[in-house]
Symmetry: C2
């Protein structure tokens, strides 16, 4: 056995244990008995402490020192790139800081939930202050004198920088605000009307998942409070939720998670339980969920097919005709909540959070001033005033659990989806004819071939550039949004 073989064998076991942690999380959100939460926290804590010890195991340092990457094939070199990066992050973080972050964010999440339920910002701010302080320490430890926010973002979107991302967001924002103002100035299409029983929604959700290529031999579809995807390789599970008055919640959550799920399912099986066996970044992951959900799932062509299936399943699609149905699917509405936002508003939510959290980590914004900063920015970008904290600064769980640098990957995913959509439609000129028949396999095969199968083989921007033939940029997404909503709203 060479040092490379030893390291890969060790890593294989770590990856398998990480999958186990994923199963526990899935179990907790779907099937765990209600009274098991405290014991489950102990179980997860024990497994996380095993994983933490393995990720910072000094043997890894010795193996890394003994391996000459230049002698490796591209797959071996890509594996080394991931392991070197993860290990270097692990050893930079003082054990004491990691433990304190785990302790404080676990407490902060509970306090955030209380504060949100009571609409009481003051209850949350002291612990958020503590979280931000610790994240600043973490960022400084990781940054080696570089931009501290970049160091946090790197955990979710390797090689992305706040400066580049921020510059791109600054170019996007005026066009999005303008589009929002044009669209919101005109008449509103009607939302869906009707009652759509859960059994029918879940049946249709399974059918739609199958249509989009989700493989039930290697996956499941269940219900949970918040939809999510978990697992990798041959065991990738997705969830959705059901509102009997609003079937799009179930159906488009399903299509969104199917995008994440198919990405994981379609990675080259040779990469399973290696550092290449997961989606390469949150941004690329989100590009898959978003292109499935929006550019494919919310297209006029596909919604025409869905309209017919809704009529067959529920006896009533909730709209007069396919045009009204398509308009309802894509209804732009003023709203406070990011997770309920339409395609026009969504990125504005992200850009606001990105700017605010970058200032928090950089030290130019105090936690005490966060709510005011949020409300001022919201009024400007969304044209309405935040009515209460649970609709404003308290709405997202992310900051309470220490997720700083994660939000921008949602908008990056949308940008990547815009690029991929342009390339995909150039490659498949008759795509709309296929989608109108409910056939997505042309599109999903293209995405599998050009993006998904590579897993972690190429860096995030490179995988998008290889697929599209051009460097990722915001243009295609903005053009797509202008064209789609311009036509829908006649503006």
């Amino acid at each position: 056995m060479t040092a490379f073989d030893d390291l890969m064998a060790f890593q294989h076991e770590t990856e398998a244990l990480a999958q186990v942690a994923g199963r526990l999380a899935w179990d907790q959100e779907t099937v765990m008995p209600r009274g098991a939460a405290a014991q489950r926290a102990e179980e997860i804590g024990a497994l996380e402490s095993v994983l933490h010890a393995r990720r910072a195991d000094p043997r890894i340092g010795a193996w890394l020192a003994a391996i000459d990457d230049s002698g490796l094939d591209p797959v071996g070199a890509a594996k080394m790139r991931h392991i070197r990066r993860t290990y270097s992050r692990a050893v930079k973080l003082p054990e004491k800081l990691s433990a304190e972050l785990a302790r404080v964010t676990s407490r902060a999440q509970g306090i955030w939930a209380e504060a949100r339920a009571a609409d009481d910002v003051a209850h949350f701010l002291p612990v958020l202050e503590r979280v931000v302080g610790l994240k600043r320490e973490e960022a400084a430890a990781l940054a080696d004198g570089g931009d501290p926010y970049d160091a946090l973002m790197d955990d979710f979107e390797p090689d992305a920088t706040a400066a580049e991302t921020g510059a791109m967001f600054d170019r996007m924002r005026p066009r999005l605000v303008m589009l929002r103002e044009r669209v919101m100035g005109g008449p509103r299409p009607a939302p869906l009307r009707g009652h759509f029983p859960e059994a029918g929604q879940m049946k249709l959700a399974h059918e739609v998942a199958r249509h989009f290529g989700y493989d039930f031999r290697h996956g499941r579809l269940d219900k949970s409070v918040h939809p999510f995807t978990s697992g990798a390789g041959t065991d990738v599970r997705i969830t959705t939720r059901v509102d009997e008055a609003e079937p799009f919640n179930c159906l488009y959550s399903t299509i969104h998670e199917v995008g994440h799920g198919c990405y994981e399912q379609n990675i080259d099986p040779a990469f399973a339980l290696t550092p290449l066996g997961n989606g390469v970044s949150m941004g690329v992951h989100e590009s898959q969920s978003r292109i499935y959900e929006n550019q494919l799932g919310r297209s006029r062509a596909f919604t025409g097919w869905l309209f017919s299936r809704m009529q067959e399943v529920f006896g009533n699609a909730g709209a007069a005709d396919p045009e009204a149905f398509h308009a309802a699917v894509n209804r732009v509405h003023s709203g406070f909540i990011r997770t309920e936002a339409d395609e026009v508003h969504y990125n504005l939510h992200i850009m606001m959070r990105f700017d605010l959290e970058r200032q928090l980590i950089g030290g130019s914004l105090d936690v005490a001033d966060l709510e005011e900063a949020w409300n001022t920015r919201f009024a400007h970008d969304f044209g309405v005033a935040v009515d209460r904290p649970s609709n404003g600064v308290l709405q997202d769980v992310h900051w309470s659990v220490g997720l700083f640098g994660y939000f921008p990957t949602y908008a990056l995913g949308n940008v990547y989806a815009g690029c991929l959509n342009l390339a995909l439609r150039a490659a498949l000129p008759d795509l709309d004819d296929q989608l109108a028949q409910g056939h997505t396999e042309g599109a999903t095969a293209w995405l599998k071939e050009h993006v998904q199968r590579h897993g972690g083989l190429y860096p995030p921007r490179e995988v998008i550039e290889r697929a599209c033939g051009f460097a990722p940029n915001e243009g295609p997404l903005l053009d797509y949004l202008d064209a789609k909503f311009g036509a829908l709203y006649g503006v």
Copy 2:
């Protein structure tokens, strides 16, 4: 922190990881996507290797050497008893032997399944020979010059010996054979007739589980191919199976697993995630499942209530009246398969396996002669000739996976259940009146108080003796069987 505190903290994490392994096993048998089996084996292997390393961790040896048990309270002393026993077993086993056993039994289980499906003993014997050889090595390593079979049994039923167990089985066997002959000589009661849809069976199974005190806030009831119980503390899950022509399969599997599940759920919460936080032995565990299933669940009183509920749920209980229903529940039938055996035949199955496996481990029986030995003994004890290997020596998975010394705990559990039933009925003279109303809480409260809450606090025989007020022995079980089946069959 003292050595005792350090050891307990380490043990707490090990127990939590063992619970995680239990969740994985539950997942595999209930909800895992079909195509995930190979990856799951990797996940389980990684977690088992973490657990194995922890159980033989040399730090445990140092802590054990530093702790003076005589200064501990009874709970601390009981914890030490378990940890010293487990550690001493772990360090006696050469790493190489454990790994080889894991490798060979994993392969043997697959070969056994093929052999059983093809009714081909010769296909299985070579690998069984290898398993038996390794188990003999393991037994010799563990036995320190004592009885090797005792050393294997000790893993499932601490402190039990083959000599005592064998002597007791030899006393039981003639009375059971005689009872079988008397019962089988007379007329046979009719089995249940009807169609019992799955939805109704599962509804009734949930209801019956609740009636027997199973706590769904800390548990679940699902379907699996083979019913089982998994987990401990606040997350204890049971499964059952459904045959629409034969509802007793579902209902009595449920009640059986509820006995196991309630034992785990009712252990003193202070013992959670300590060595005292599980049922103390397989025999005591089986005593709980058996007394719930048989002495309570198959009693004339309880079946009267069940008859009414079956009528309400299915519109038809499958029998003319409560007497015929009770006779059908307790129908004694000739059969080859242990898991389908009635109360009269069940222990005969066990005793046969106990004698054969004791001879295999002791070396007085060769694997090559096993089938003949099985068939000869079966004809004698059961009065019928085995028709094919899948109904004979190939029927159980146990030996293929290296479970030697496990079978006798099933019959020990029945013996313990007989003792507990005697004591329970003395303590609750109106128990039948309660059961006739579907009320089992008097019985289950007594079992919780006298057996279940103690978890691993007392050694197995001691917990039964404390509950009953007398040393466990086979008399009460045999008297109960003679009385019950004598009355049912008029013999």
